[in-house]
């Protein structure tokens, strides 16, 4: 039987993993709770980074990514990522993605946070949707050829584990509950752990349940305490609405009111990058100000709204009932992205042979803080890299044992878990809150509270402040103790955290 790649999640990372396998003639099963059109990747607005400007280089992109991540990312992985970025953008153009263009075949670039150079390729402010439409179309070709088989409306149930690692997984059909048992290499691309918090900027489908089930099975996590609070999100019923960084890239300004007049605190305090400082810096500044912050887009020309921020304008008009051309938008930091997740090496192998992870569910590329525009890139590159590793390793022999699936959390337990997580893992943390969170979670059954405890354990052990992890009881960054990867594992009884050295750049 030919090798089979089982891809769990059909967002950008999962699609590219399946495509990579299919292009090599290896059949891929593509599993997701809903069709790709509904994955969180379609929600991305601002764009994707690649060093394409005349004044730019892949080395610059590398340096900015490492610095924004406070030197916690794997340098060899980031090096490959940034080197591949220009080629990935060209491939997307070949697939028909409608990026804003300058001239005939050069994509236009915009400013994005944490980068002094224009490096973000974009499609108005619907970049994720435009990329996904083209990539879904490419996958359709391989579906018609029988090389990609979709299992939409299916959820991951459990791994199959044999003597030498992972041999496959089981999946469960929604509503009917029907189980399917698959054999092959398993690539997890199930998105970030948004369901731990609820009310994030992301998709409700990204519950974190797959990561939780894997953690319970013994698959270690890394850097889970690094959770990105995006500085410009606004309250709307049931979630936080992201106001894309593109709005500031195009000239939006942040202010608070002082004596009734706007005080542009970022421009005053961080003259170099100002409103485009890295997200952790702005969110921390907003947290310490403790006042209502506004995002002012009123000075932007109509043309910018029309051709470059169309979705952002639409979101504000529809969901906030604010016309950003007329009035500043009240904003506050909101949970947006998970830098940490399933522990993988630079080639996206997890600690279990035969099991790989890519996209927002894994810990790769972003260290302690992600640069805007780097996660679409990381999802694409990671998906390809994970499939590449899986194909190189080949599938494990048939014969593993299919582990029993988790039972679904009740609404009551989910809400209880989310409340504890929000309290303990805010922008600023301290020992008492984290210990209290861990203790309270111990009373709740299931894998999600276990996952929450794992992340809090990492946050508790990391006794320093770095990137998105702010400890009010350890305000300094401590390179000797903690310029390391947090690795948290579970042995069926206890959760333990250790700090691993970060590889040297080759």
């Amino acid at each position: 039987m030919s090798a089979r790649a089982i891809v769990v999640g059909s967002g950008l990372a999962g699609l590219f993993a399946a495509l990579e396998a299919a292009e090599q003639g290896v059949p891929a099963a593509l599993i997701s709770v809903r069709p790709s059109e509904r994955a969180q990747s379609v929600m991305a607005e601002g764009g994707i980074n690649a060093a394409l400007g005349e004044d730019d280089s892949t080395e610059n992109h590398y340096n900015d990514t490492m610095a924004a991540g406070r030197f916690l990312a794997d340098p060899n992985a980031v090096c490959k990522l940034t080197a591949a970025a220009p080629g990935i953008v060209r491939r997307l153009l070949d697939l028909g993605v409608l990026f804003n263009m300058r001239g005939h075949d050069e994509p236009e670039l915009r400013y994005f946070g944490g980068q002094k150079i224009k490096r973000t390729v974009f499609a108005q402010s619907g970049s994720g949707k435009q990329i996904m439409s083209a990539v879904i179309q490419e996958a359709r070709k391989y579906e018609a050829r029988g090389l990609i088989t979709r299992y939409d409306r299916h959820a991951f149930a459990g791994l199959a584990v044999g003597d030498n690692g992972c041999t496959g997984c089981s999946i469960r059909k929604a509503y009917s509950g029907e189980m399917t048992y698959l054999h092959g290499s398993v690539i997890i691309a199930a998105g970030g752990m948004h369901g731990l918090f609820g009310g994030t900027t992301g998709s409700l489908d990204n519950s974190g349940a797959v990561t939780a089930a894997l953690f319970r099975t013994g698959v270690p996590l890394a850097n889970g305490e690094f959770i990105q609070y995006h500085p410009t999100t606004a309250a709307m019923p049931g979630k936080r609405l992201l106001i894309s960084e593109a709005a500031r890239g195009e000239g939006g300004r942040l202010f608070v009111l002082r004596d009734g007049k706007p005080y542009y605190f970022m421009e005053d305090r961080y003259p170099e990058l100002g409103n485009l400082s890295p997200r952790d810096v702005i969110s921390r500044e907003m947290w310490s100000l403790g006042e209502q912050v506004y995002l002012d887009l009123t000075g932007l020309p109509d043309e910018v709204f029309r051709a470059r921020l169309s979705d952002t304008l639409d979101d504000c008009l529809t969901h906030l009932r604010i016309d950003p051309r007329q009035n500043p938008i009240p904003v506050a930091p909101g949970v947006h992205y998970f830098m940490g997740g399933i522990f993988v090496d630079e080639n996206h192998r997890t600690a279990f042979p035969g099991l790989y992870a890519a996209g927002e569910c894994c810990c790769q590329y972003h260290g302690a803080n992600r640069l805007g525009g780097n996660s679409l890139l990381g999802a694409i590159f990671g998906g390809i890299a994970a499939a590449h590793s899986a194909l190189a390793d080949g599938p494990q022999a048939i014969g593993g044992e299919y582990l029993p699936p988790d039972t679904e959390q009740s609404a009551e337990d989910r809400i209880a878990t989310q409340t504890i997580v929000r309290d303990a893992l805010g922008i600023a943390r301290d020992r008492a809150e984290l210990e209290n969170g861990i203790a309270t979670l111990e009373g709740l059954p299931g894998s999600m509270p276990l996952l929450a405890r794992a992340i809090m354990t990492g946050a508790l052990e990391r006794r320093e402040s770095r990137g998105a992890h702010l400890r009010t009881d350890y305000l300094e960054q401590n390179d000797t103790g903690f310029r390391k990867t947090t690795v948290v594992s579970y042995d069926g009884g206890t959760i333990s955290a250790r700090f691993e050295n970060i590889p040297e750049r080759r």
Binding site: E37, D94, M101, H104, Q137, K141, R150
Partner: protein
């Protein structure tokens, strides 16, 4: 706040089961959407209906909550809408009736099986066999074509669309435009055009019902005309 309404929901436990109606009260507030109200109801413990009777969680689909994923399409007071952009304040009468889309088989309550949409896209062979040909001239229309959410609202109002027939409906034509436009010609473009004539052009009665319903306000009419022009009249 203080805005009260009731949601009357057509329920059906599973395929083949008898449908029934159940009403829930909501105090989600006028600025809330139908989606927010449904989530609030499902989060109640215990979950009770308007008369205080025990109810099972309401099955419906949603993911992005902000009109970007098309998951939450349903009939709201008779018209196909995305629940996440249907605001309670639009329905001042206070009773909002929710039903599943009627053109697709019901899986449970408001959840329907729209897999036929994706099957048709495959049958229409909508993909590229060579590098995309990017023409600056058609950029904006193609961009609109690629925005389609595959929600199915345009199929719901179409007199000619039925999940069992092999007519793809407006969304097929809306999507086909970008692909046809970016295809530089040759055998595959011919194949796509042929499939288009069979799966869209010959089935469309020109009733125009689909032109105004799109929740994204895509230029549906323009896209249909342009796709026809490329696939049927060779532009």
């Amino acid at each position: 706040m203080g805005f009260r309404c009731s949601l009357k929901i057509k329920r059906q436990e599973k395929p083949g089961a008898a449908p029934y109606w159940q009403t829930f009260s909501s105090e989600a507030g006028g600025e809330a959407t139908v989606a927010a109200a449904l989530r609030e109801i499902n989060d109640r413990t215990p979950l009770t209906d308007l008369d205080g009777g025990r109810a099972m969680p309401i099955s419906w689909e949603c993911a992005c909550l902000q009109r970007k994923c098309g998951a939450c399409a349903m009939r709201v007071n008779g018209a196909p809408r995305l629940a996440c952009s249907a605001f309670l304040s639009e329905f001042p009468g206070g009773e909002i009736v929710l039903e599943p889309l009627g053109k697709f088989p019901v899986i449970s309550d408001l959840t329907v099986d729209r897999s036929v949409i994706f099957e048709r896209m495959k049958q229409a062979r909508l993909w590229l066999e060579e590098k995309a040909y990017l023409s600056g001239r058609r950029h904006e229309v193609s961009y609109q074509s690629a925005r389609c959410l595959m929600c199915g609202c345009c199929l719901e109002v179409c007199p000619n669309f039925g999940a069992a027939e092999d007519f793809g409906g407006a969304l097929l034509s809306v999507n086909a435009y970008r692909t046809l436009e970016q295809s530089s010609g040759g055998g595959h473009k011919k194949e796509m055009s042929e499939a288009y004539r069979k799966l869209y052009f010959s089935g469309c009665g020109g009733s125009l019902a689909c032109h105004q319903i799109c929740p994204l306000e895509l230029p549906v009419e323009e896209l249909l005309l342009r796709s026809n022009a490329v696939a049927v009249w060779g532009r």
